[in-house]
């Protein structure tokens, strides 16, 4: 007997959007208006999206363990990421580490370098390098007493990972207003033992208004950032012809925020601490010659299955509305525009990488590059209405990755999934 999954198009009780907030015809009150501006002002600065993470990540052995002594000055790529930075934000890195291992050179060295290539909206790039020595005590084997990793752990951070010219008058807008990408490459030198390191976004911390409540959350001090953050209109002769307290500007800000602000869902590198040796100069890869989709992580998996491992896609950003005054999915489900980027190559033919969150929700990235490079594609992914959402069978909303190739070998090292929306300007 045929199973018709759903015959009803809509439930009978379609909810209406609230009409209460629209009841106007009341005198203007400054406090009401300002409370909206204040709330709008905070949204872009709340983020702290993670671009990249590395560390032990479930490993059972250090690369720099007894008997493995990497060269002190050889760069060893651990992973990469490439994301559009939230407007008004730059990056910083918090890392936790313990005593480093011995290297084949003397003196021993334990260091990492973060190569960042900033690409502005005009595809003009500026490359910067940030490094830190992660050395503690005497190089050698790690302490072996019970729980010594926890007591030996140190924490440090790299702040102000941003283009060098950001403080030059007139250049801030280049990196903060129009979509700007950060291409990261994490390189180890020598024998660092990094337990956990995360590279994430922080606001630029410009705050010129006296009543800004908490400069860390405020990014509107810089000229030109006013697309994502509101300005108080002090004059009726404002440049945008908006003489009534900034209604048009307020609408512009909300439009830009919902178009440009969304999560980074997945940041993944194939690097595993315990599978890497001191002589490696590149992170591990995963490859396939299969002409049909196989799991990136679990090669025996050939189709999406939410009961199997994957990545979380939990977020609160949803494209419920798309220039319509009607709730698209009535709060029952959600989808967001995404961009999926992969770093890898295919020896011949075309490799296809698929990131999937439901049977009907996936984005395919088609790779034809024969040497390692970033390739990206965009699409839509079902993510639910909150991180607690589950599918109809009570399984978590998870993302799973598959790949295949039409010929040759498809090799993949890193991939990212982030919110994506072309900005159509104010």
């Amino acid at each position: 007997m045929a199973v018709y999954y759903e015959e009803k198009i809509f439930p009978a009780d379609v909810p209406k959007p609230p009409i209460g907030p629209l009841t106007g015809l009341a005198p203007m009150r400054r406090a009401r208006y300002m409370s909206v501006i204040r709330a709008q002002d905070k949204i872009p600065g709340l983020g702290r999206r993670t671009h990249f993470r590395r560390g032990l990540r479930g490993a059972d052995e250090w690369l720099a363990h007894s008997g493995d002594t990497p060269a002190a000055a050889t760069e060893r790529t651990v992973g990469r990421s490439r994301c559009i930075v939230t407007p008004g934000h730059f990056l910083q890195c918090v890392h936790h580490f313990i005593q480093h291992g011995t290297t084949s050179d003397s003196p021993a060295q334990a260091r990492f370098e973060l190569e960042v290539r900033w690409v502005d909206a005009a595809a003009s790039a500026a490359s910067e390098s940030y490094g830190a020595s992660v050395e503690k005590g005497v190089a050698g084997d790690e302490p072996t007493g019970n729980g010594d990793l926890w007591t030996a752990l140190e924490r440090d951070h790299l702040v102000q990972i941003r283009p060098d010219d950001v403080d030059v008058p007139g250049t801030l807008n280049r990196w903060t207003v129009a979509p700007c990408e950060a291409w990261l490459e994490w390189e180890d030198l020598g024998a660092p033992r990094i337990v956990d390191a995360v590279v994430y976004e922080v606001p630029y911390r410009a705050a010129f208004e006296a009543d800004d409540d908490g400069s860390e959350l405020v990014i509107h001090g810089a000229s030109g950032l006013n697309i994502l953050t509101p300005l108080t209109r002090l004059s009726e002769t404002t440049p945008d012809g908006d003489p009534r307290g900034g209604s048009l500007h307020m609408l512009d800000v909300h439009h830009a925020q919902t178009q440009r602000l969304g999560p980074i869902l997945v940041y993944w590198t194939n690097y595993t601490e315990h599978n890497t040796t001191g002589g490696d100069t590149e992170d591990d890869d995963t490859s396939t010659t299969s002409s049909t989709f196989v799991g990136l992580i679990r090669g025996s998996q050939t189709a999406y299955d939410a009961t199997l491992p994957g990545w979380s896609v939990g977020c609160y950003a949803h494209d419920f509305l798309h220039n319509s005054d009607r709730l698209i999915m009535e709060g029952r489900n959600g989808a967001i525009p995404v961009r999926v980027r992969v770093y890898g190559n295919v020896t011949s033919g075309m490799g296809t990488f698929r990131f999937q969150t439901a049977a009907h929700s996936y984005v395919d990235v088609e790779v034809t590059a024969t040497s390692d490079q970033w390739t990206d594609a965009y699409g839509w992914l079902e993510v639910g209405v909150s991180p607690e959402d589950q599918d109809e069978d009570g399984n978590p909303k998870v993302g799973q990755a598959f790949f295949k190739t039409s010929a040759g070998t498809f090799t993949l090292r890193d991939f990212q999934v982030e919110y994506d929306r072309t900005w159509d300007g104010p």
């Binding site: 926890w150 489900n333 989808a335 072309t422």
Partner: protein
């Protein structure tokens, strides 16, 4: 310019017809505000005269006369791209015919079904095989299917349009999709002919027609699935969820001279309440490509330690992360995918995920920062029974959410801990910690409620 009274919910309009009120829009199942053609045929053959074929909710036309193939020379129902055209039909593997046809003499589009369930879009007379897709699982017996051709502007600007041609066989639950970029498709809005289930000629859809809908905006595949295939259950989460209302942009005329002050501010305020967590994402999102097997000795001795205040559990240093947090969230929810090793693993395994604010027993941890606060933590726990046959599962800790313990520097630590019986052997494949906003707070405003 329209005045405020025409911008109420339910009548607000966009685009070319912004001044045309459509108060019937959305009143019937299947119609949305962006619907401007909705045809219901109640399962009749496309070649017959339908008694209830066209239930037009657009407000643009009131006398849509149905005939075989149903072409109409009118601008009222023509597809506009970006947009969406969706069909529900009963189809066999031998059915053929035109599902959609729009032609103004200069430009045209078609969606044509061929034997075997092969659907091909045709743009200006040229069949675009990049967009060709086959309905999966068709047989000689009729099965209900959903076909959707949805378009958006090419976000990369390399081409004009991005199309998604989605097909569901709702009898089998199978799905397939073609995605391709192409040049603009824009049959003129006057003088063109629209054909639903036919092209006005001989190419009439031979299967059973149920519903066709033409919409003026992009629908994601998920939205099509919700409307036509399977409706999700409403979620009642422990924490907050977000459902964003419409906030019109300035092109709507909402804030123009002559409009009242107040409504834009009020509706933006409503939008902020639902858009405040857009930047929040997973705090821990690991899917390990190589998962070592652990036993009751846990990680190497130097890597694990007793969990403070719950000392039978061992925290493993190789599942230790520090993560920044979205400043608007105050709670977290975890899940872990654990497998037991086939054939040998028995006993029990307690899995613990803990959030804490400083590394225990380390008071001088931070090189460049303030003195850490006193140790505090919140955790979730679940005990599994392991069997000698392969067992793997998501450990969801009963979907519990816990308060986030901030370290005073904008983040917190998470770690996994375990308590394993002697013969337990297990792998950790995935570990997620999601950002949650607990309902007991007042959103990001933290007590500074938006003024109504």
């Amino acid at each position: 310019m329209a005045l405020w009274g025409e911008h109420e919910w339910g009548t607000f309009k966009w685009g070319d017809d912004a001044d045309t009120p459509t108060d019937q829009q959305g009143a019937e199942p299947g119609a949305k505000q962006d619907t401007y053609y909705l045809g219901k045929s109640d399962g009749q053959a496309a070649a017959s005269n339908f008694t209830d074929f066209a239930t037009d909710r657009s407000g643009y036309g009131t006398s849509f006369v149905t005939t075989s193939g149903h072409p109409e020379a009118t601008a009222d129902w023509l597809p506009v791209f970006p947009g969406a055209v969706e069909f529900r039909a009963g189809i066999t593997s031998t059915d053929t015919g035109t599902l959609l046809s729009a032609d103004d003499g200069a430009n045209s589009i078609k969606l044509v079904l061929a034997t075997g369930g092969v659907i091909t879009p045709t743009i200006n007379g040229v069949a675009d095989t990049n967009g060709q897709v086959t309905i999966p699982g068709l047989t000689g017996s009729e099965q209900r299917c959903v076909v959707a051709w949805i378009t958006e502007r090419d976000r990369d600007g390399n081409d004009d349009m991005r199309s998604y041609l989605c097909v569901w066989n709702t009898a089998t639950g199978q799905f397939d999709m073609a995605v391709w970029d192409h040049s603009d498709i824009s049959p003129a809005l006057s003088g063109a002919t629209l054909g639903i289930w036919g092209d006005g000629g001989a190419s009439i859809f031979s299967g059973t027609a149920y519903v066709a809908r033409v919409s003026r905006r992009f629908h994601s595949p998920t939205e099509v699935k919700e409307d036509w295939v399977e409706v999700s259950y409403p979620l009642n989460p422990t924490g907050e969820k977000r459902v964003e209302p419409l906030v019109p942009d300035r092109d709507s005329g909402f804030g123009d001279v002559g409009e009242f002050v107040g409504p834009p501010e009020s509706i933006v305020a409503s939008g902020i309440h639902q858009a405040d967590l857009r930047l929040a994402g997973p705090m821990v999102n690991e899917n390990y490509n190589d998962a070592p097997t652990w036993d009751s000795n846990y990680a190497p001795d130097q890597w694990d330690r007793a969990m403070p205040l719950n000392t039978t559990v061992f925290l493993m240093g190789n599942y230790l992360v520090w993560t920044p947090r979205h400043r608007g969230i105050n709670a977290w929810k975890a899940r872990v995918f654990v497998s037991a090793v086939d054939g040998v693993s028995t006993g029990t395994l307690e899995v613990v995920c803990v959030c804490f604010n400083k590394i225990p027993n380390n008071g001088v941890l931070v090189l460049n920062g303030p003195t850490p606060p006193s140790y505090d933590h919140r955790y979730v726990t679940q005990t599994l029974s392991l069997t000698t046959t392969l067992s793997e599962q998501w450990v969801d800790f009963s979907d519990a959410i816990r308060r986030l313990v901030d370290d005073g520097q904008g983040g917190c630590y998470f770690a996994l801990g375990f308590l394993a019986s002697t013969n337990a052997l297990w792998n950790v494949h995935s570990w997620h910690v999601d950002s949650i906003l607990d309902k007991t707070t007042n959103g990001i405003m933290g007590g500074e409620a938006l003024q109504p």
